[in-house]
């Protein structure tokens, strides 16, 4: 296995684990806007399914690929890449899936907590709208 294939594998595992962590956090904090699911229990199950297998693979990495070594800096880049893709994927897909089930109630338009009532797309739309109305005043 080439170092590129190993790095790709590493990044995909990070992508899965980060998606799971975001869902666990969404369920824990009640951030309905970033979860793919309506019920907390579904989000927790999804989190377990996406976090535990990648961690199990990382735990046994040296046994699986004894000569496959990703150096520290490459690990860092792969982690950042996997995290960014997971974040964009989670925020994007949840915005699509929840576009009708969540009404864009602008209750709190401040920080991550705004995503309790809105999807990320709705929050950004509200932000642009409020900026626009501030400019026109």
């Amino acid at each position: 296995m080439t170092i590129f294939e190993l790095s790709l594998r590493y990044s995909i595992l990070i992508f899965l684990a980060v998606t799971g962590v975001l869902h666990a956090i969404a369920a824990y904090r009640g951030l309905k806007g970033i979860s793919f699911f309506t019920y907390k229990i579904s989000a927790y199950i999804f989190a377990a399914i996406t976090i535990i297998p990648p961690l199990a693979i990382f735990f046994t990495w040296n046994e699986r690929w004894p000569i496959g070594l990703i150096q520290g800096p490459e690990q860092f880049y792969c982690f950042i890449a996997g995290t960014i893709v997971a974040l964009v994927f989670t925020l994007g897909l949840s915005s699509i899936l929840k576009r009708t089930s969540i009404t864009d109630d602008p209750g709190e338009l401040h920080g991550i907590s705004a995503l309790k009532n809105m999807t990320y797309y709705q929050a950004i739309k509200q932000l642009i709208r409020s900026k626009g109305s501030n400019c026109s005043k």
């Binding site: 590493y10 990070i14 684990a17 980060v18 962590v21 975001l22 666990a24 956090i25 824990y28 904090r29 976090i51 990648p54 961690l55 990382f58 735990f59 046994t60 990495w61 040296n62 046994e63 004894p66 000569i67 070594l69 990703i70 520290g72 690990q75 982690f79 995290t83 401040h110 920080g111 991550i112 907590s113 705004a114 995503l115 990320y120 929050a123 950004i124 932000l127």
Partner: protein, 189 residues
Amino acid sequence: MFEVDKQIFLWINGLAGRSAVADSIIQGIANDYFVIVSFCLGLLAIWFGSTSKEMQKAVIAAVISIGLASLLVVLSNHFYFRPRPFTELPTNLLFYKPSDSSFPSNLATILMAISIPIFWTNKKIGSLFIGASIITGLARVYVGIHYPFDILGGFILALLASLAAIYILKIMKKYFDLLLRMLEKVFLA
């Protein structure tokens, strides 16, 4: 002093090979991926899961600390090379053979560099991180790739890096507050 280090190494590493189950578990803990990935996922969970600004600042301090600790490791490797224990002593080696300097342990340094800023802000969560760092350090000795002083040296470098990171965060507070406000505006903090 190095004699004491070697004696402690021989004692800890001498425990290896007695139980296949214990060896497998400790190999998993000692590897280059599992604990560091878990720590980074932990930082991410703290960032998005915490409602406290101080915890988010602790995550920023941890990231700065990782950068500074890496720099200290590179500098240390530039001036001092210590051979790995398996090249000098009879070792139960449960790992591949790294060729870089044994001192300091890169992984132990980075893990502790993440742990200290978190501990500075939240003793409970920070203790978990520090405990995991110590266990990983011991695991690296158990599998035969580090002397105990490599781990201890890494922890000392991490302490220096963490204190520097916390100081940087303090003197550049207004810029980091601005960064947090900007991330808050786009719903990412």
